[in-house]
Amino acid sequence: MIAFVIRRLLQGVVVMLVVGFIAFSLFNFVGDPVALMLPPEATQADRQAMRETLGLDRPFHVQFATFVGNAVQGNFGISLRLGRPVSALLVERLPATLELAFVAASLALLVGIPLGVYTGLKRNAWLSRVFLTVSLIGVSLPTFLIGIFLILIFAVWLGWLPSFGRGDTVMVGAWSTGFLTASGLKALILPSITLGLFQLTLIMRLVRSEMLEVLRTDYIKFARARGLTNRSIHFGHALRNTLVPVITITGLQLGAIIAFAIITETVFQWPGMGLLFIQAVQFADIPVMAAYLCLIGFIFVVINLVVDMLYYLVDPRLRIDRAVAGGH
């Protein structure tokens, strides 16, 4: 187990180095930063001085090493657009995105899994057919359209919920949370539904098809033949066997929720990292883009690590076999 975790950690480091390299390359692709930072009337000497100050005259690999060294310490330089340290900007925006992603993911899991189990067990019930049909909408409609519809119905027509922003937030240490105020919670509803709906329907359909698959297996038939209760068969034996694929997809989708909150955050003007990123792209704010790339890469690496460790918890076949199979 420990060897496995270490191996996975090393792989994660390699992935992060590649991501860092791509992020670092951004600087070289998008023109000469010196030209961007100095006024047009600057002299050649000024440029040279600036180049030396920024360390741009040093060889490529030294520059990359410096970049990685700084990045590990959370130092991604200064935003070209806002003139403030990128790390401070991200830390400011991180809570908004993480809270949104957390609510959206919880919604997807807490609604998606029970619906999947229900539609898997009651395959022919009319309610199951309704859920399946409705879920097609969630799978097929693009996120921004769902967001705009929700705004139209609940914010414009009914006027129940705010159409944009986070509402009032409270600072808990360095973390600004919207969980503690009524307007903050209300503001979370529409964006999290928008963000989580696709994952919800995906998880529901996945759990359903896995349940149908597992219910056909011999060990479920044998469990029935042993006279176990339906409850034990469905939830103890069947559901648990569906968890490995569900964990895989959920993990990847959680990363996707955080990474692709961009669209939802744009639609709802949600002051999170995605919005920061979109604005950075429009302004060619390379340090912010590079930092965002690294952060998302990091989140995916962490999630994958957690998913791999959850496999170990769920499926004993993956655990290291200390006892060798005995007998014949």
Partner: protein, 332 residues
């Protein structure tokens, strides 16, 4: 008549599968009974309806299959029309089951101990510690070495033969009166098959458990069963004491089956075989289902369907034996 009251009686059982192209009759008018402690072998080709008979008895037919007629009695009480919850209590407690493939019969995510304890506690009022002690006892009884340690192992840590032993322990753990063993050795190595069969036979004798042994392996039947029922195209064509059926088969189909088993020490160029193949369920011929393949068929066989009738020391569904000696009521 057999002396003891039968443990299980199946009367005129009919199982149908509703399909898009009409109803298929998988089991047609099957009657059999099993005395307490008796081993009844049920043989036949694939698709003859052996497994479906077993599945119908434990009430686990999957839709679109359903019992369309007849009745099933356990210790004189009807069980085929019980509500699902009552039938569930009978499964595992009164009637155990063993399926073909031990590799897939156990849930891979739980230790064998947990699965045995769960089954025990479902049926018997035992605490966790008592149930675990009983589980270890059972594992020892089915011949699993170091049962105290092995009980906490997962199925994938056991070999195929060991897993089938665990499955037998699971089937026996609430001390059922009857075990339906559906091809219990087919998926195992030949060398292990004999061990498992011997074990099953020994345990059932010790516990006084009756067995309905479903298989296509005549060797297993010959070694294990007291009586044997031969099935063909959803019906029983011959039933009788195992030695009689093997050595003096009365139905031409049984005779064909026995003829196709090679005898040791006898050199044959080519094994005798029954010409043709078993009819599909949607194309069962009129009269006796076996008549197109039967070397002795005559006009009546193509018109009228024979029921089981006394034939020598067995009972066979064949017109060859019509009007011969023996009373119609004779069961054996």
């Amino acid at each position: 008549m057999s002396a003891a009251a039968p443990l299980l009686e199946v009367r005129h059982l009919r199982v149908e599968f509703a399909t898009r192209r009409g109803t298929l009759v998988a089991i047609d008018d099957v009657s059999l009974d099993i005395a307490p402690g008796e081993v009844l072998g049920v043989v036949g080709e694939s698709g003859a309806g052996k497994s479906i008979t077993g599945t119908a008895i434990i009430g686990l037919l999957e839709p679109p299959g359903r019992i369309a007629g007849g009745e099933i009695l356990l210790e004189g009480r009807r069980i085929d029309d019980l509500p699902p919850e009552q039938m569930r209590r009978i499964r595992g407690r009164r009637i155990g089951a063993i399926f073909q493939d031990p590799l897939t019969s156990l849930n891979p995510l739980y230790t064998v101990g947990r699965q045995i304890v769960e089954t025990i506690q479902t049926h018997l009022p035992l605490g966790a510690a008592e149930a675990r002690a009983r589980a270890i006892e059972l594992l020892k009884e089915v011949g699993i070495p170091a049962a105290e340690r092995r009980i906490d192992h997962y199925p994938h840590q056991f070999s195929g033969g060991m897993r089938q032993r665990v499955v037998i322990a699971l089937a026996l753990c609430a001390n059922p009166r009857l075990i339906i063993a559906d091809e219990p050795t087919t998926a195992l190595d030949v060398s292990i098959q004999a061990q498992i069969i011997t074990l099953l036979k020994k345990l059932c004798r010790e516990h006084g458990t009756a067995v309905m042994l479903v298989t296509h392996d005549m060797g297993v039947i010959a070694e294990t069963a007291d009586r044997v029922a031969v099935m063909y195209a959803g019906r029983i064509v011959e039933v009788g004491p195992v030695q009689e059926v093997i050595h003096h088969p009365q139905h031409p189909y049984t005779a064909g089956l026995m003829g196709s088993i090679p005898a040791i020490g006898q050199e044959v160029e080519r094994l005798p075989q029954i010409e043709g193949s078993m009819p599909r369920l949607d194309a069962i011929p009129k009269g006796c289902a076996f008549n197109p393949r039967c070397p002795k068929a005559f006009d009546r066989c193509r018109e009228e369907r024979p029921d089981l009738m006394p034939a020598g020391s067995t009972r066979a569904a064949c017109w060859l034996h019509a009007g011969k000696a023996g009373t119609a009521d004779e069961r054996r």
